[in-house]
């Protein structure tokens, strides 16, 4: 693996929506801080730099605000997202905070429900993708040899098949997916870049002495992986999860926008789909399609910014002075 390849497996989100999936840009995130700066206890050191990192604070605040909206928002809604009211097509007012759709449904209610869906799908998709990525990446990196060859090949195959295209056919044939099913599908299709990155990181960790020692003492592989390797990568794993989480939200928004998402739950993508198919755009009903897009941008952007902040906290070399 060339040097640039390894770099490429870093997680400092370089990422376009697409390149999130690639983790384009980044550096060796498993960077055990040099002994030179290990003047303060490491855990405190993390907190020390974390609370002083503006990017981390900003990103985290945005995500937390969005999360609170997802939790509390639906409780404040005066209507159900599917309920038809008598005010059609109306701009934001005190009765309908975000206005109504062309057939008189409350946009705020849909929005709040969509926020919940977004976090749900991000969590399900992110967790599943992380688990698969860890299983594949750790095994390939730790076992090396033929196991690695096969797993890498599988990873590379999944890597080139665009997840949304597969989702397209699957969802196209399913009559209706629920949020958990959609999350599952998204998760099962978006792990490859993460697995590849983890494999490279595991490789370099295994090359270090202490893993070699554990290996020599003939401990069980999974034990070594979860006792020695995973903890050493915890920061990396966390950043990876963040990107997978954001990626799941974006992919599902694409699927929902095409109209292949859940039928009986509101998602932010579905809102945009309805606004589009019901000429909300032509009629200038901005209150209908602007909020869901802003919400997705805020959540995903917040996650990315948070990630860069984390990267700076974990990698002293990147910190700005």
């Amino acid at each position: 693996m060339t040097r640039s390849d390894q770099k490429h497996d870093g997680l400092a989100t370089g990422a376009s929506t697409a390149a999130v999936a690639s983790g384009a840009a980044g550096g060796a995130a498993v960077d055990v801080p040099s002994p030179k700066v290990r003047t303060i206890n490491r855990r405190f050191e993390f907190l020390y730099f974390a609370i002083r990192n503006n990017k981390l604070i900003l990103g985290l605040s945005i995500v937390i605000i969005c999360f609170l909206i997802a939790i509390i928002g639906p409780l404040l809604a005066k209507y159900s997202p599917f309920q038809y009211t008598t005010s059609y097509w109306s701009p934001p007012s005190s009765r309908h905070w975000f206005g109504t759709t062309q057939d008189g449904r409350d946009v705020y209610a849909q929005f709040a429900a969509g926020m919940r869906s977004a976090f749900l799908i991000g969590t399900i998709g992110g967790v599943i993708a992380s688990v698969v990525a860890m299983l594949v990446g750790f095994t390939a990196g730790y076992r090396a040899g033929i196991v690695d060859e096969i797993l890498s090949m599988v990873t590379n195959i999944f890597l080139v098949i665009p997840a949304f295209a597969v989702l397209l056919v699957i969802a196209g044939f399913l009559h209706n997916v629920s949020i958990p099913v959609e999350g599952l599908l998204v998760g099962l299709l978006s792990w490859p870049w993460a697995a590849r990155a983890l494999r490279a990181q595991t490789f370099s960790l295994v090359a270090r002495d202490f893993i070699g020692m554990a290996r020599l003492s003939a401990q069980n592989s999974w034990r070594i992986i979860f006792r020695e390797i995973a903890p050493n990568m915890s920061s990396y794993l966390f950043m990876m999860f963040i990107l997978l989480f954001g990626g799941a939200i974006l992919i599902s928004a694409t699927i929902d926008f095409i109209g292949l998402g859940p039928q009986f739950t509101f998602t932010l993508g579905k809102m945009m789909n309805e606004a589009q198919t019901n000429s909300g755009l032509l009629l200038g009903m901005w209150w209908w399609f602007i909020p869901p897009g802003i919400a997705i941008t805020a959540i995903v952007g917040g996650l990315y910014i948070m990630n860069v902040g984390l990267d700076e906290v974990f990698n002293p070399r990147l910190r700005e002075m």
């Binding site: 060339t2 370089g14 929506t17 999936a21 384009a24 098949i161 699957i170 897009g293």
Partner: protein, 332 residues
């Protein structure tokens, strides 16, 4: 070198086989038997008795439902190699391949310039912004916002602002329906006029990603040993940045390979927003009309396109990065 490309080709072939298999299996595995559903629906889509029979028997034979599964599978492959992606239900008796052929120029016309220009501009701007306080503080937040934006949403915002509110650009279509397509400047201008907004939308979202990627990469590069060495020898900033840029470009290029799939997805939804007559709009009508053949065909088509694009990037990478080249000559 040969080993490298042999490996790549193997991966891509396996990918293609996997994709075809998935494509074949999905309608057969799905609950609710979409094929029965399809056959039942065909009755409502024809005008004359003969046409109905023709369609029904055609599909019956194509799916070969009375034959064993492996025969069905082989038949699927055979048809594929004959360039036969099936007959579209929504525009019967047009073959799916013709529909795709008609849509493809529009999609490529959007995608290729958007990818190349955004890659170029994003990298340049990202490189400029790195380690330059003021520029960094403007470019970075803007780029993060752009890259976190769903493609379809930016498309909607642009359409609403520039087409609905200000009417600078047409809201939908690939060209003015009142014109007949011809090789004239007038028509070309009209094409451009319709092309601009969807292009701009695609360009902007990608631009953000490349700018951030380059900015982060170049910071790593500027902190790298060879950069410090150059500086210690008093090399001018310009030379150091030039080296850093070139080296940072390499991971960006492999990032491009990985990103292509998602970019294509972005192009499709952008087309949908602008009613642009490319593959995206085709997908939408296929889905709305439950035209499974078209969906399957487009899926395969996208996969092949992505594979080819990946292969091109692989070749580019080898040309640009001496390290892969040397590693490949079986040297050190």
């Amino acid at each position: 070198m040969r080993r490298y490309f042999a490996r790549k080709l193997l991966t891509y072939s396996l990918t293609f086989i996997a994709a075809v298999t998935v494509d074949w299996a999905i309608p057969r595995l799905m609950p609710g038997n979409p094929i029965d559903d399809l056959l039942a629906r065909i009755g409502t889509r024809c005008n004359t008795r003969e046409q109905c029979d023709a369609i029904s028997s055609y599909f019956y034979n194509v799916f070969g439902l009375h034959k064993p599964l492996w025969v069905q599978y082989l038949t699927f492959w055979k048809a594929l190699f004959q360039g036969n992606l099936g007959i579209s239900v929504m525009s019967f008796p047009e073959p799916v391949s013709t529909l795709i052929k008609n849509a493809i120029p529009y999609t490529l016309g959007l995608l290729v310039p958007a990818i190349l220009l955004s890659f170029w501009a994003g990298n340049k701007v990202g490189a400029l912004a790195a380690r330059r306080k003021i520029l960094d503080n403007t470019v970075l937040p803007l780029s993060y916002t752009l890259t976190a934006t769903p493609y379809q949403w930016l498309a909607m915002v642009l359409a609403w602002t520039f087409a609905v509110t200000w009417r600078f650009f047409p809201i939908s279509g690939g060209y003015d329906p009142l014109r007949t397509p011809s090789w004239s400047f007038g028509f070309a201008g009209d094409l451009l006029y319709h092309w601009f907004l969807p292009f701009a939308s695609l360009f902007l979202v990608q631009f953000g990603g490349w700018a951030i990627g380059m900015r982060n990469m170049i910071i790593y590069e500027l902190e790298s040993d060879y950069a410090h060495y150059l500086e210690a020898l008093g090399a001018p900033r310009k030379l150091v940045r030039k080296y850093a840029y070139r080296n940072a470009l390499l991971p960006q290029i492999s990032g491009l390979a990985l990103a292509i799939g998602a970019i294509v997805g972005g192009a499709l939804v952008t087309e949908i927003v602008f009613g642009y007559p490319g593959v995206g709009s085709l997908i939408l009508s296929a889905i709305n009309n439950k035209d499974y053949f078209a969906i399957q065909g487009i899926f395969l088509f996208i996969i092949v396109g992505v594979l080819i694009a990946n292969f091109i990037v692989d070749i580019m990478y080898v040309i640009i990065d001496p390290r892969t080249r040397i590693g490949m000559q079986g040297g050190s």
